[in-house]
Amino acid sequence: MIEPRILAVRTKILKKNDELARRMRAEFVASGVLVTNLVSSPGTGKTALLLETMKLLIDRGRRVAAIVGDLETDNDARRLAESGAPVRQIMTHGCCHLEADMVRDHLDGWDLGQLDYLFIENVGNLVCPTSWDLGESLRVALLSVTEGEDKPLKYPGLFNTSDVAVITKIDLSRACEFDRGLALKNIEAVRPGMVVLETSAKTGGGVTEWTDFLEQKKGP
């Protein structure tokens, strides 16, 4: 009987993804493009907010592009393309999050040096995208007023690893009896000091402030 032998490995399971993401981030930063990864539940309003944001940035003369992940269909890419910006769809066929290599494969032929902003809309999911670095410089956790103030408490992993939170669909606050103070308190509980912006893609409320925030992150 041969005794088993233990090999100590101590390596991150997602090392391959992490290393690729790190290389991609270095390239994005060197090219001067601000890469933003938007994460939320299905239907929070990522595409709606992104469309308004991209239109506004284009009006301001900025060069933008987007990559959008969905399980199936290219509906979101077609909606975002209304902005006039180049948009690509990643169909994950069942995979509940985007991985760095999927993003890399969809950058083909884009000159990053010619872009100011690249938005990545992740697959609608609050858990799975959290562990996957896409090389972004800004990770945004979105929460709509229709889905309950306790989302940050239920999904602390996402909110804790994000750089900024956006509360969406604020035009529906009253109808949903949304408790804004409680939502802010819950975000604060999982990510003290987190910047929180509030938007409505329907009325345009807060979209300027959100876009200004991005412009400030991007720098000159």
């Binding site: 041969i2 088993p4 032998r5 233990i6 090999l7 100590a8 490995v9 101590r10 390596t11 991150k12 399971i13 997602l14 090392k15 391959k16 993804n17 995979c95 509940c96 999050h97 991985e99 858990v127 799975c128 959290t130 562990s131 996957w132 408490l153 239920k154 999904y155 602390p156 992993g157 804790n160 690893t161 604060e188 509980a189 999982v190 990510r191 003290p192 000091g193 987190m194």
Partner: protein
């Protein structure tokens, strides 16, 4: 269901780690999973068994060490282990703590191999 993707990455990393070794099979692998990674152990084991089929890892036992959330409390100036994944707040002084020191782990700790007999 990110467990399937994690299992895929785990199996390829583990296979790569034993490639240079002269082993007949892998009897067990041990991983560390942080509470904030939101991994369902049973589902990860299920996916691991499926993905490892036909590789050196086929039949290996997957041992999962759960790592609790540990935050740094700026008020107490020390690390505090939390009993739950939320709230991220010091259990001693109640200060909100966003500085997560442990809990996001997804690490391959070790591989137990059976050497080829010569």
């Amino acid at each position: 269901m990110h467990e399937l993707s994690i299992a895929n990455h785990l199996v390829s990393l583990a296979c790569q780690s034993v490639r240079q070794e002269d082993v007949t099979r892998v009897s067990a692998i041990t991983i560390r999973v942080g509470a904030l990674a939101c991994v369902h152990p049973d589902s990860l084991k299920f996916c691991f068994d499926a993905v490892s089929e036909g590789t050196l890892l086929e039949g290996a036992e997957l041992r999962i060490i759960s790592v609790p959330v540990v935050v740094y409390c700026p008020t107490c100036q020390c690390e505090i282990e939390l009993p739950e994944i939320q709230p991220l707040r010091c259990t001693v002084c109640q200060t909100p703590c966003g500085d997560v020191r442990h809990g996001n782990e997804l690490e391959l700790e070790s591989i137990e191999v059976v050497d080829a007999s010569d």
